[in-house]
Symmetry: C2
Subunit: 209 residues, 2 copies
DNA sequence: ATCCTCATGTAAGCTGTTACATGATTCC
DNA sequence: GGAATCATGTAACAGCTTACATGAGGAT
């Protein structure tokens, strides 16, 4: 066995109930691992890109590798290196019982406020500086992009169909589908607001640039 | 692909004189400054807490001070220290012409994808590990919190009423009002989904402590 | 032959947060 | 007199991203 050695040192000082404090990303990665099957960091990244990112976020691959090492050090995951029986050498990770317990405890926790950073809204907010038409174009591009994302969510949903173990991920993706739909309506309504603004104060439009 | 995140070796320079590249936070702070009036860092923080945060995010006060210094160094803002005519010594910032021009150029730019990190969804996604009832409680708490936020958005909107210079911030806040409303409906729908899930596979509920 | 995907990492560096330090003013 | 708010910063450091390094296997 060629796994990284986890010294027993950290086990000794931490109380049974409280592991080390981990950032949300670590829990997200551990969450990926909590579904059946062993996975490589590379696998996890693809999984995250295809589904996690719609309601949370997909960490950089290097970050995933880092979190996996941290999780293993914490005793929440184990890994083993594939031997010569496989074409490629890869390290597969699996969640441990301690990891599952810690994750379950964390999942029952209040996660705090939603983080929403909407670059488009920042620009609309600054609309007094922009050419109104350009602003509307930005909104329309956002709508187009959101439509594409919605299609991707639906693809993820289709992929998760009928698998028992994925009932909750399915709920999350359904939420995400509706969320993208709402985002489209929100953008359309804002477009209307912007048009209305242009109709009223149509003079003060900066046309520089 | 658009010119979003090209950056590789494409180090082709655009011939226009471009100021230093700034992070979105700097633009947000400069944006705060782009509305009429001189303001202190402290003022800006309150402004951001009361309105920017609903659709973007409110930086830490220490970060605001840092960005202001950076903006001044870039020539996008000027500051002057208040003299003895005022009770407190404070540093007031104002946007410069160069700053306004740079900000306007930036505002016409494609801002890239929305960042959405929804801690609640992360937990729902991991629902197979949680007690179903606990999960529903978390969603209900989220709903209560969102209602409070919605009230805060409405307060900000009321505060921005009838001021000509704030027409665009008002559009952004209106978007935010609708967004919070949508968030409530999304959460209610998810609650229904979770109840439905519980009705079907009601057995597999983990009840460990 | 070459390019793409698989696969795993290291290093540098920036963004941004928390905690801390400092002091004045206002309110009760 | 004490607390809250106003007001501005510094320092330490966590968290992440990008760029880079490396190499094998599969496809054209």
């Amino acid at each position: 066995m060629t796994n990284r050695q986890v010294s027993k040192k950290q086990e000794q000082r931490t109380e049974q109930t409280e592991g080390p404090e981990l950032p949300p990303t670590a829990w997200a990665v551990l969450g990926l691992l909590s579904f059946p099957g062993e996975r490589t960091g590379y696998d996890l990244k693809k999984w995250a890109d295809a589904s996690l990112r719609f309601f949370y976020w997909s960490p950089a691959i290097s970050q995933i590798y880092a979190e996996l090492r941290r999780l293993e050090a914490a005793g929440y995951a184990t890994s083993r290196r594939s031997g010569p029986e496989e074409p490629r050498t890869k390290r597969r990770y699996a969640i441990t019982e301690a990891g599952r317990a810690a994750l379950a405890a964390w999942a029952g926790t209040d996660g705090g406020p939603v983080v929403l950073k909407h670059p488009l809204l920042l620009r609309v907010w600054l609309g007094h500086l922009a050419a109104p038409e350009r602003l509307r174009t930005l909104v329309e591009e956002h709508i187009a992009h959101t439509r594409a994302e919605l299609a991707a969510v639906r693809e993820a949903l289709a992929h998760a169909e009928d698998v028992d173990a994925w009932a909750h991920p399915r709920v999350a993706l359904r939420w995400s589908e509706r969320q993208h739909h709402a985002e489209l309506e929100l953008a359309e309504a804002m477009l209307e607001d912007l048009r209305e603004l242009a109709r009223q104060g149509g003079d003060d439009a900066p046309t520089q640039g």
